[in-house]
């Protein structure tokens, strides 16, 4: 019993190290890039140019209709046979960013559509073009609506980064896996990894509440 607690304690360092050095930067970078992709895809889907909205629709459909693990493997193990070899970290970031891009695009599109038409008209009546109205009037209101679903997307992403262990990225789960293999204490290490993921997600959820409160300050309760 003593040695189990001992092992749990000793492995906490590498596991948290994997979170700080792997899981968290991987999730953050992919999420930020994913949001940029998502905004562009959402705007393309709302555009009146059929080629743009069509392309965006196909992109969203492919991303949402295929497993993330398969997307990851296509990029890391598949592309080399076409002569394109990408290192584990960039592969993971590309796969996760593209994935977030597909899901968040639908969130952002719905949020933009949820802003009343009268807001566009008010922007136009004070002389704003479509682009300026979008940027100054519509997107800030859409942002408020999209925070809860986007937070959920981010929390899912944090958990999904564990898949990166399968393409050799050193992150939280891969650290736990390696210690488990050496020590033969699978249950202990995997439960420990689960607890660390859980704590990270608890922290993120409370951060989500803070942001939502801030964005809610101009809304009647």
């Amino acid at each position: 019993m003593e040695s189990q607690w001992d092992l749990a304690w000793r492995s906490l360092g590498p596991i948290i190290g994997g979170a700080i050095g792997g899981t968290i930067p991987l999730a953050l970078t992919s999420f930020v890039l994913g949001l940029i992709i998502a905004l562009a895809v959402a705007l393309a889907r709302l555009s009146r140019v059929p080629v743009l909205s069509g392309a965006a629709r196909v992109y969203v459909s492919v991303i949402r209709g295929t497993p993330l693990l398969v997307q990851l493997f296509v990029i890391f193990y598949g592309l080399p046979s076409l002569g394109v070899t990408i290192e584990p970290w960039p592969s993971a970031i590309i796969a996760f960013a593209l994935n977030v891009g597909g899901y968040a695009a639908e969130v952002i599109r719905a949020a933009i559509l949820s802003v009343p038409q009268g807001q566009w008209e008010a922007g136009h009546t004070i002389g704003m073009s479509r682009v300026l109205t979008l940027r100054r009037i519509i997107l800030p209101q859409a942002a408020r609506v999209s925070v809860p679903p986007l937070s959920n997307t981010f929390i899912s992403l944090v958990k999904d980064t564990s898949l990166a262990s399968l393409i050799l990225v050193t992150e939280l789960f891969r650290e736990a896996q390696q210690i488990a293999t050496f020590s033969n204490e699978f249950m202990l290490l995997y439960v420990e990894a689960a607890v660390v993921y859980w704590v990270i997600c608890l922290v993120l959820s409370s951060g989500q509440n803070v942001i939502e409160k801030r964005l809610d300050r101009y809304v009647a309760h």
Binding site: E121, G127, L132, R136
Partner: protein, 262 residues
């Protein structure tokens, strides 16, 4: 009010509207609308619901694009809707006119002050300090100086609509367009808003007002335009149109509005 005196424009009319036509699918909403608005004039646009009044106002503000007809401003802008309208023309139209909406359409994520200076600063590139000073004096005029930093949800409907009016005034448009500015308000809040609009008329602002408040139209307008079925049925001085209309359709409309329970 020194820095927001109504713009002075040479010529006898500020806007001339000719042959405006617009349909939505099979629904021919405007069937050739003609009227003009004199400089400093107040035109009340009345007519049954669905007769196309809002569509006329939206056309004057570039929010709707008519299929045909022309809108001419006295200071040179002429927009001919018979051919496709450029973005530049629509923006020019929006530059000349400003709309006060039935449901206010304030920006909920901006304070009262931010709502008002958004257009002057972001579009007209005026300095923030100057736009703020002007906004404050306009707020003072409509009795809302203390609401400068409030968000729209903290205001009553009547207060929100007065902010809507100030937001339009701050743009210094050639013409103010009001689309049933009091019809979303509780009855006891209507008076404050109508008073503000009447004062603007007295000060010489050029205005087109869609309204169901016939008593108000009689007081504030110097011309009443009665629309029905997408055409102007008759127009003239309020004392004529609202009291002794010539056309049968006008008589019926006035009767329905004035004696709804007959």
């Amino acid at each position: 009010m020194s820095h927001t005196d109504p713009p002075v424009v040479p010529g006898t009319h500020v806007i001339r509207v000719r042959g405006l036509r617009k349909s939505f699918g099979d629904n021919q909403v405007l069937n050739g609308i003609d009227f003009e608005v004199r400089r400093g004039g107040v035109v009340a646009l009345i007519g049954p619901s669905g007769s196309g009044k809002t569509t006329v106002l939206r056309s004057l503000n570039g929010l709707a694009v008519p299929d045909d007809g022309t809108v001419t401003f006295s200071n040179g802008l002429e927009i001919d809707f018979s051919s496709p309208v450029s973005k530049r023309d629509l923006l020019a139209l929006r530059d000349r006119s400003a709309m006060v909406f039935q449901h206010y359409n304030l920006f909920p994520h901006k304070t009262v002050l931010q709502n008002i200076i958004e257009g002057p600063v972001q579009v007209q590139k005026r300095r923030v300090a100057e736009a703020t000073a002007e906004a404050e004096s306009l707020l003072q005029r409509v009795g809302l100086a203390d609401k400068r930093d409030a968000y729209p949800f903290e205001l009553s409907g009547g207060q929100q609509q007065r902010v809507g009016i100030v937001r339009a005034l701050a743009l210094r448009p050639d013409v103010l367009l009001f689309d049933e500015p009091t019809s979303a308000l509780d009855p006891e809040l209507v008076g404050d808003v109508l008073t503000v609009i009447k004062e603007l008329g007295d000060e010489g602002w050029t205005m087109v007002i869609v309204t169901h408040e016939l008593a108000f139209a009689r007081q504030v307008a110097d011309e009443v335009v009665f629309m029905d079925g997408g055409v102007v049925v008759e127009r003239g001085a309020p004392g004529d149109i609202l009291v002794n209309p010539r056309e049968e359709r006008t008589k019926q409309f006035l009767h329905r509005v004035l004696h709804p329970f007959d």
